[in-house]
Symmetry: C2
Subunit: 442 residues, 2 copies
């Protein structure tokens, strides 16, 4: 089954926004065993939209569109598609009801602009709802006879029509809404469409998240793993600084696919021992470490030099992270390493700020001062300047300290400044992750 | 003049990477007064590439391709295009010479993988160069008779052929290389192509960077500004949390366009006083503040609660930032606000952690302890939990402290957690930026 993705909008063609919807849709379709052959973007021009739609149905078995469903006069997707299929444009009543409710709520707690105080006017809600509704009715229209898939997140309903016998599914361009609709309605619908075409293989798949080795080393480690296993394949995706390993098994029987996937699981984990830190789409190393800290009632403090606060920022991304993270010290200068963490001037003089003894003293000092279970320290040369023959750009020392476990790690990765910093912060998380593993194993 | 952008690669159509090249190219073309009507992505399949190229030249005056120029057997752009124009494939000699030089350098300082120690083997460079060169020669090929635009950053040369009389320009898919080639060769070439079509208007343009008001308020403030000014237009682009205001004037005479742009400049600055913090494509608020601190030999320390280190991370993004930033305190818990910064328990008890008195004490405490010219403190409720009727999610207090200048700012912006945090860090930078302005004005 071959798909074409069509994204619509002047702002795309002026380069004002990056089209993340196409890649999102392509990845989700691929996971459903539907191959995207073409991705097209066009302006809000009605003739161009019509021409793109007409072409797409000649070369694809499924067309997925995003954009052009909003309330403005520029939003023409519904009108164009209705004309192409020879249907009228009608209001989708359930979507209209949702819209009225939502505007009522919005007007009673009016959202201000970035950084602005909350507007204090409040009583003209009634007439405002009417006015809003009149203008905004455009976004709850669909071609008559559409299969309406709704929208659990926003206003414009997702709908589907058949053009020359090919299903054309239209989604709003707002990524949050597009994602919500895909999860709620389209996974099931696209599976149904695929199976209706006789492509009835079921898919078992698992994503392994790997950190600490480059993609070529990860793929080298897994070489031959799926050889001879019917319907099995393995794929790699780099999301710097980690690599996703996607294991897929296809079979007409879901149970058989699942069983062969499970049988391969041990092999992946053995070949990537110490590298795979988790599975699944959503939980990155940051989220996993934060969750595990909270679950085990442990806490951590940070002592950062070259990362300048990045590790603290990562450890506070998740709601609820205050349970696991009281704070940290950003010690960009040597004086601050001494003042805030008690690193000895003698150590700095003898070994330099980027050295194993210095990060060890930073971590120990942080653990004592913050009164925490774990402390992590990072000190390195992020570049592009500051390197020496002994300590070239990309040299970073990391230390983990706890009452009964001390570790250090040296990185030597001559990348760009932002990459060296990100890699350092992730290695710090990895040290913490491994320490939590050791604790659990005891 | 109408352009089509074509990006090529299986990884695009599997959704493994987001296509940032299309938006980059569209924005750069728009700045050159060339309108992108279509953006197409296809797989590495030769028939699909050929079909996309053949279609593009029927509906565009210029085709810009990226991808498919690498060394592997999947990289087919050169082969397909050569066949379409009926030319042979030849080696571009200057690109080959550059490649040989580069491989020589690379092998003598072999780059290791992320986090791996530098490999210590070193003497088999000679035969390795030969082997590499044989495999990699694919990427320095071009169709015979091409206009070669080179590649100042990487290996695969950019080249141009005419297909059915329409210029088709092919670039490598690596963004850094694509950007370098565009700057070095294509701005001039595309201007030449546009003018050859009789579209000889010159463009004067300026980008104003605005922070502190939403896009609708910014555009409202500029309403009517360019009315009656020949060839003038104004455009807005949101790059959360800032808005770019693009002022453009077209005229057949560059001097006349420049003069009208200059005449409009004062109007923009007056209407967006206190909101526009700089001009130009590249220098964001972070970079501008860091540069100004270094230039004025001033330094700053940070005291962060809800941003968890994000402000410190921003202030250390630029190389050389150690001159302006000795460090900061991440004080996520109340105990740490007391311990690290000397905030009084009485203040916390009376007003809470998210309050004007608390951030003032945080900033004062940080300035004294770090011994710096400026200190900035942030404390807020980033959400999604932790809000109260008095202090809903999105309530953030920020304080700036210096020997002769104290300011505070309250935000009330009920957005998502990551947006609240980013907006808070930017407002902290803005307070510092405004303080530097006041100092300069004295």
């Amino acid at each position: 089954m071959r798909a074409e993705i069509l994204t619509i909008g002047d702002e795309l063609c002026r380069g004002e926004i990056v089209d993340t919807n196409s890649s999102y849709l392509a990845a989700r379709l691929w996971d459903l065993d539907i191959t995207t052959r073409w991705m097209t973007s066009c302006t809000d021009d009605a003739a161009d939209i019509a021409s793109a739609m007409a072409q797409a149905v000649t070369r694809a078995d499924l067309v997925v569109c995003s954009g052009g469903l909003g309330p403005t006069e520029d939003d023409l997707t519904v009108d164009v598609l209705a004309r192409l299929v020879g249907a009228e444009v009608v209001i989708d009543e359930p979507a209209k009801v949702r819209m009225m409710e939502r505007f009522g709520r919005l007007l009673s707690s009016q959202a201000p602009m970035p950084g602005m105080e909350r507007a204090s006017e409040g009583s003209r809600a009634g007439s405002a709802i009417e006015e809003l509704t009149r203008i905004q009715l455009r976004q709850v229209r669909v071609p008559a006879g559409s299969r309406v898939h709704g929208n659990p997140v926003g206003l414009s309903p997702c709908f589907e029509v058949a053009l020359s016998g090919v299903p054309v599914v239209c989604l709003p361009g707002i990524p949050r809404e597009l994602h919500g609709i895909f999860d709620a309605a389209l996974v099931g619908r696209f599976t149904e469409l695929r199976e209706a075409r006789g492509q009835v293989e079921r898919i078992a798949r698992r994503i392994y998240r790997a950190f600490g080795r480059g993609e070529s080393q990860v793929s080298q480690a897994c070489r031959g793993l799926v050889d001879g296993v019917p319907g099995a394949s393995i794929h790699y995706q780099v999301k710097f600084p980690e690599t996703l390993v996607k294991l897929v098994v296809r079979d007409r029987d879901q149970g058989a696919a699942d069983a062969r996937l499970d049988a391969l699981d041990a092999g992946v984990r053995e070949r990537l021992a110490g590298v795979v830190y988790g599975t699944g789409e959503h939980e990155t190393l940051v989220e996993r470490v934060t969750r595990r800290l909270i679950e085990s009632s442990a806490n951590v403090a940070t002592a950062e030099s070259c990362t300048g606060g990045m590790l603290g920022e990562l450890l506070t991304r998740m709601p609820g992270s205050s349970k696991a993270y009281p704070g940290g010290a950003i010690v960009y200068s040597n004086d601050e390493k001494v003042r805030q963490l008690g690193v000895s001037q003698a150590t700095l003089d003898a070994y330099g700020a980027v050295s194993e003894p210095t990060v060890q003293e930073m971590a120990r000092g942080a653990r004592e001062r913050f009164g925490v279970d774990y402390a992590i320290a990072i000190s390195g040369i992020a570049g592009p300047d500051g390197g020496t023959p002994d300590k070239p750009v990309g040299t970073v020392w990391i230390a983990l300290d706890s009452a009964d476990d001390q570790r250090t790690k040296k990185l030597s990765w001559p990348g760009a400044r932002d990459q060296v910093r990100l890699l350092s912060a992730w290695w710090a998380l990895k040290l913490l992750h491994d320490a939590l593993d050791r604790k659990e194993a005891r």
